[in-house]
């Protein structure tokens, strides 16, 4: 009988998992013993790291969006429908048009930036967590004549932990290059008592802020934004004024997870940190932002997890006890200005030892924006060899 592997979500994790499975199980698929289906409502695939760069003219729409079908291996069946319910008891996924059963399910439904969770955020602040918002921010920065720019995070978890820090550094560089730096004040708000969760990174990032005249306002957990007064208020009882605010919205799990009742309060799915199984379901795997794991929500996380999960499923299908386990590995670039960046790699056991910002990391990051489409998303080098 044909084994059905069903993947919900065609972002980074889902796409890589589908491609890896199609390579690993090539023979089984050819013999009709395995079928791989991917449900994704959008025909387009988005490379989200480009959204950080677009406001500064360092990337563009053509680098951020391509066809999902063209990225997928031919043997993956793409179902362009919206998943509406996941039933892990009876092993099926419903869409607006049909019902799909599975033997193995991979949930890769990602996360949703949700400004509505914070009062005044949608009206009062910009962000760069979707393509339209990123383009709008590009326009506002281009028109900005001077004043105070505040960058912050309105809730945890959020995708790509270094992004607020990178945005702060890039916006400083952007106005310096435009000979406007003396007209722009920059303030960085962060929920923790330091500028980044990882201490070694926080130390060097804070030094960069001191050198470049960026103010850090710490232990500032944003509670609300007052668009009329142009003021941001914190849970700790502080406030700060702004002329232009760039605030990363809180994230939640996907609608289909919340509606299916398989997530926690935030819509994140309880997941085993090593096997990546949904807790209590050994035929269901969860990858990328959709998990409740206390690790970075980032493309590299999804990539490494897709590699583990596709190996485990291939083993199971071949009657072998699944061997691959996830070690919590994450890899993030951290741009400190145009022409300079660092690279952070860490896992459950080992904190990051960041390299000093240098040109090579910057170049690699910019090259990676293209390599993603040709190598990573096509799963030609799973986990990028790390």
């Amino acid at each position: 009988m044909t084994k059905n592997v069903l993947i919900v979500g065609g972002g980074t994790g889902g796409t890589i998992a589908a491609n890896l499975l199609s390579y690993k199980l090539r023979e089984e698929i050819r013999r009709g013993e395995v079928r791989i289906q991917l449900i994704e409502q959008s025909k387009r695939h988005f490379y989200q790291p480009a959204y950080l760069l677009i406001p500064f003219g360092l990337s563009e729409v053509s680098e951020a969006v391509k066809s999902e079908r063209e990225l997928l291996s031919e043997s993956v069946e793409l179902i362009t429908e919206r998943a509406t319910r996941i039933n892990v008891e009876d092993r099926f996924v419903e869409t607006e048009k049909g019902k799909y059963t599975y033997d193995y399910l991979i949930i890769a439904t990602g996360s949703v930036p949700d400004p509505s969770q914070v009062q005044g955020l949608s009206e009062g602040a910009h962000h760069f967590y979707d393509l339209d918002s990123s383009l709008k921010l590009e326009e506002s920065l281009a028109k900005f004549n001077g004043g105070k720019i505040v960058v912050g995070v309105a809730g945890v978890p959020y995708k790509c932990p270094p992004a607020p820090l990178e945005f702060t550094f890039l916006v400083e560089d952007y106005f310096r290059r435009r000979h406007m730096r003396n007209k722009v004040e920059i303030e960085y708000l962060y929920p923790l008592p330091r500028v980044f969760p990882i201490e070694s990174v926080a130390d060097f990032a804070y030094n960069i802020m001191l050198e470049r005249g960026i103010k850090a306002n710490l232990l500032f957990n944003i509670e609300s934004v007052d668009p009329g007064k142009k003021e941001i208020i914190s849970m700790e009882g502080d406030s700060t004024k702004y002329d232009l605010a760039v605030i990363i919205p809180p994230h939640r799990g996907a609608d289909v997870i919340i509606k299916s009742g398989i997530g926690d309060k935030g819509g994140w799915i309880p997941t085993d940190r090593y096997t990546l199984n949904m807790k209590n379901y050994d035929d269901v795997y969860v990858i990328g932002d959709a998990t409740d794991l206390p690790i970075s929500k980032a493309g590299s996380t999804a990539d490494f997890e897709a590699s583990v999960v596709s190996s485990r499923i291939a083993d199971s299908i071949r009657g072998i006890k699944p061997r691959a386990v996830y070690d919590g590995r994450v890899m993030c670039f951290l741009l400190s200005k145009i022409g300079e960046g660092s690279l952070l790699v860490f896992d459950y056991e080992n904190p990051s030892k960041p390299v000093k910002p240098n040109f090579f990391c910057y170049w690699y990051k910019m090259a990676y924006n293209r390599l993603y489409w040709n190598i990573t998303a096509r799963a030609l080098l799973p986990g990028f060899g790390v």
């Binding site: 809730g155 945890v156 978890p157 932990p161 929920p191 923790l192 008592p193 330091r194 980044f196 969760p197 990882i198 201490e199 232990l219 957990n221 849970m235 700790e236 009882g237 309060k265 935030g266 940190r273 206390p294 690790i295 970075s296 919590g328 994450v330 993030c332 952070l344 860490f346 896992d347 459950y348 056991e349 904190p351 990051s352």
Partner: protein
Amino acid sequence: MRLSEIKPNKIVDARGSFCPGPLMELIKAIKEAEVGEIVSVYSTDSGSKRDIPLWVQKAGHELLGVFEREGFTEFVVKKKR
């Protein structure tokens, strides 16, 4: 009530988390909790011993206890407002 008898409403297992890290996980759990509820967070990150008490004090919550467990530290926090 003795500290050893405290029953948290939610346990956050942030062992192995360097980024976003245990304090971020605690902030998220406290936001979701009701006033008066107790959240316990497990951490293997040495920075937590400094970070967590600092934030709890600044945010006006109560640190009920810090316990050394086998291979990790447990912080027990009560949401006060």
